[in-house]
Symmetry: C2
Amino acid sequence: MPRKVRLGIMGLGTVGSGLVELIKKNARLIENKSDVKLEIVRALVLHKNKPRPLPPEQVTTNPNDLFEDKTIDLLVEVIGGIHPAKEYIVQAFDSGKDVVTANKAVLATHGDEIFNAASRNQKQIGFEASVCGGIPILRAISSGLIGNRVDELYGILNGTSNFVLTTMQEERVPFSDALAMAQSKGLAEADPTLDVNGMDAAHKLMILAELTFQTKMRFDDVIVEGIENLQPIDFETAESLGYVIRPTAVARRMEDRLDLRVHPCFVPKNHPLATVRNEFNAVIIRGDAIGEMVFHGKGAGSLPTASAVLSDIVEIARNPNSTPLWNPTRTIQSAPVELASRFYLRFPIYDRPGMIGMISTCLGAHGISITDAIARLTCTETNQGNVMIVIHSAPETEVRKALAEIQESGALNADPLSIRILEN
Amino acid sequence: MPRKVRLGIMGLGTVGSGLVELIKKNARLIENKSDVKLEIVRALVLHKNKPRPLPPEQVTTNPNDLFEDKTIDLLVEVIGGIHPAKEYIVQAFDSGKDVVTANKAVLATHGDEIFNAASRNQKQIGFEASVCGGIPILRAISSGLIGNRVDELYGILNGTSNFVLTTMQEERVPFSDALAMAQSKGLAEADPTLDVNGMDAAHKLMILAELTFQTKMRFDDVIVEGIENLQPIDFETAESLGYVIRPTAVARRMEDRLDLRVHPCFVPKNHPLATVRNEFNAVIIRGDAIGEMVFHGKGAGSLPTASAVLSDIVEIARNPNSTPLWNPTRTIQSAPVELASRFYLRFPIYDRPGMIGMISTCLGAHGISITDAIARLTCTETNQGNVMIVIHSAPETEVRKALAEIQESGALNADPLSIRILEN
C-alpha cells in the first residue's frame, strides 16, 4: 500500500503552477519509485478570476479552507515574500500539518520562529527549494556528506549575475547590454539590484553556511562586492590569461571563525566553475573525507524549483518521524579574516609616460609582486586608458592600501578595480 | 537524546580502516549535526596479527561474534568480493541487523537475494558507497531528483581510465606510460584490465541505470569500448579542434528501451565533463524538471568511500522505518538503439598519394559528410602515418560499414579508430 500524502498549495504563481504541472505529469512515476502517492486537495490564491491549472472547486482565496481541512497532511508555501507567508507557515504547523517552502526570504528573516513552530508541533519542514532551485544541495550537506568536516563551501549562487558575466565573457558586450539580455529572457527582475550587487547570493550563502557549519550568522558579516563595475576589457584580459570571470560566493572555516564573501572572481578555464555558464548555479563543498565535491545545475525557474519542493514532500512522506535536518547548536562569529590572494587589478588612467612605473613602484613598496602588466589606450580623444596588472598572492590589506595610495596620486580617472583570482 | 547506533564492521582493509578513522575523527560532529551517536562494537578480520585501528578485544576472526551480538544494530560489509560477502550480508539481515555495503560486485551478481533478505526481515540496506565513492549519487537519484522523469544519465564512472586519458591529454605520453603513472599512484590495480577495457564502468552504469529507471538490466546489453587503442596523436587532434578525450558511460531512455554504452568520447572544452580530471568521477542526470544536473567528485579511495558508508549509516539511523530506496517494478529490455552521432575517425595508413581521397570518397558513398581532414606522417622509415577525419552527425551503422570497407581496401596498416563526439 502506498503512503498517501494530501497536499494543500499556498500560491499558484510560477513555482506553484510548475508544481501542479509536475505532479500531474509525474505522480505515477513518483509512486512507482517511492511508494508515495501524491494528491492535491486545494490551492490558495489571491484572485480567483485568473486561469489556473486546477478546477475552480479546488481553488480558494480563504487560507482557513486549507488550515481547517483535516484531510490535508502537508502545506506547500510558494507565495513568496515575508508576510503573510510567515504567518501561514506558523499556522500550518499549529494546524498539525508539515510544511515545505521555497521561500528564502522568510527563512532568512524569521527562521527561528518557523523552526520553533515546527518543533513545538512535532512537524517537519522542508526547504530544499529555498536555495539553488533544483540542486539537491541542502540534502547533500545534511545527509550525503554528513560524515565530513567541511572546511569550505563556494560556488555560483546567483543565476542572473552568472548569465550577465557569461554573456559579457562570450559575447564581449558591456554590462548594460548583458543585463538587458537577461531581462528579456526572463532571468532578471525588473529591478535586478539585489542580483547584480551580490545581496541575493549573500542571502543564499548565509543559509548554506548556517546549515553546513551548524551555526547562526549575522548577515552584516558577509563581505559583498557586486559585478556592476566590470568592463569588456576585463573579460578580454581574463581570456588572454586563461581565465573566465564568474560571480562567486565563498564560506571558509578559519579556525574558530567563518569568512563569508560574495565577489566576482577570475576562474581558471579548466576549473569546474568555468563550465557553469549562463543561468546555471554550482556549489562546491570541500570536506575532510571527500575532498572537493561539485553540484552543478539549474538554480531557479518554475520546474527546477518544483522538483526540489517535490523531493521534500516525498522525503517527509517516506520518513514521517525523522529527526530535523537543521539543528543549529551554536552561534559562530563570522569575522572577516585577513587573507592573501592573487589579484587582477585594473587602473583607469590618463595615458602618459611613467604610469606603469608609478603603479608598479607603489605596489612594490607594499611588497606586492607583479606577474603580468598590460597598458591599453581605450579612447584617443580623451587620452584615457587602462593599466591591467596581475599580482602574485599578497595580503588583502596591503593590496587595499596600495590601491588607495595610487588613487590618491591623482593619476586615475576612475576607481581602480580589484578581482580575486581562484587557484586551481 | 541522540539515537545510538552500535556498529559491527566486516573487513578492516582500505575502506574499513578509513571508516574507523573517520568515525573516530568526526563522531562528535556527526552527533551534533544529526543527533545520531555512532559506536563501533566489533570488527571482523581474516588475520588477527596485523596492526589494526581498533584495540585487540574489539577485533575477531569469527563472524558469529558479530551476528550473535544482540547489541549490534547495523553491520557494515566492506570485505569486497562475492563470497563470503553475500552470505554474510544475508546472515546479517537474518540476525535482525541493518546492512550497509560498499560492494558493487555482490550487488551486481546477487542483488535479488540480498534485497529479498532485507525485505523478508524488514531491515534496511544502504549501498551509496558501491557506486562513485564519495558522490552521493544514489541518494540524489532516489530522493533529491525523485520528481523528475529521467531521460539520460551519463558521466565518467572509472577513475583509473580517467586518470590515464587526462594524463595522455595533458602530458602527451603514450597509453602505457600513463597507465604506469596511475599504478605508481595507487590508482590502478596490478591487473587494470577491467578499468581500461570499460567493464568496471559498465557494472557501475548498470547499477545507476537500474536505480534511475527502476528496472533490471542484462549486463550483456551494455555496449563496451575500452581506451587501449588511443594514441597521443588522437589527443593532439582533439586539442586542436577544441576537445579533450574522456572515458564516458551513457544510459539513455529511447521510447521503451534503454541504450547503455561505455566508450571514450570527444568532449568540448567548455563542457562540464572536460573539467573532470585525473581520478575524479562525474554523473550528469538529465531530468524533465531540472534539465542537466552535474555531480562531480572523488569516485574511489578510502575516505571518500567511508564518507558514503557513513551517510548510509546515519540515514538508516534517522529513518529506521523508511520505505526502500530501490523498488524495481519491471524489467526493461536494454536494446542497443540505432543512433546518429558526430565522430572522430583515425585511419592508420601507408603514406601515398590519394589516401584522403579514397577515404573521403568511401565515406561520401555512405552519405557521411566531412568537417575536418588532417593527414600526418608519423614514421618516415616505414612510411606510416594517419588520416584523421571529423564527420558531421551520421548513423552509426553507416559509419561502421564505411570503416569496414576502407579496412578491406588494404590501404590501412592497423585497425581504424572511431570516437564519438559529445555535443554541447
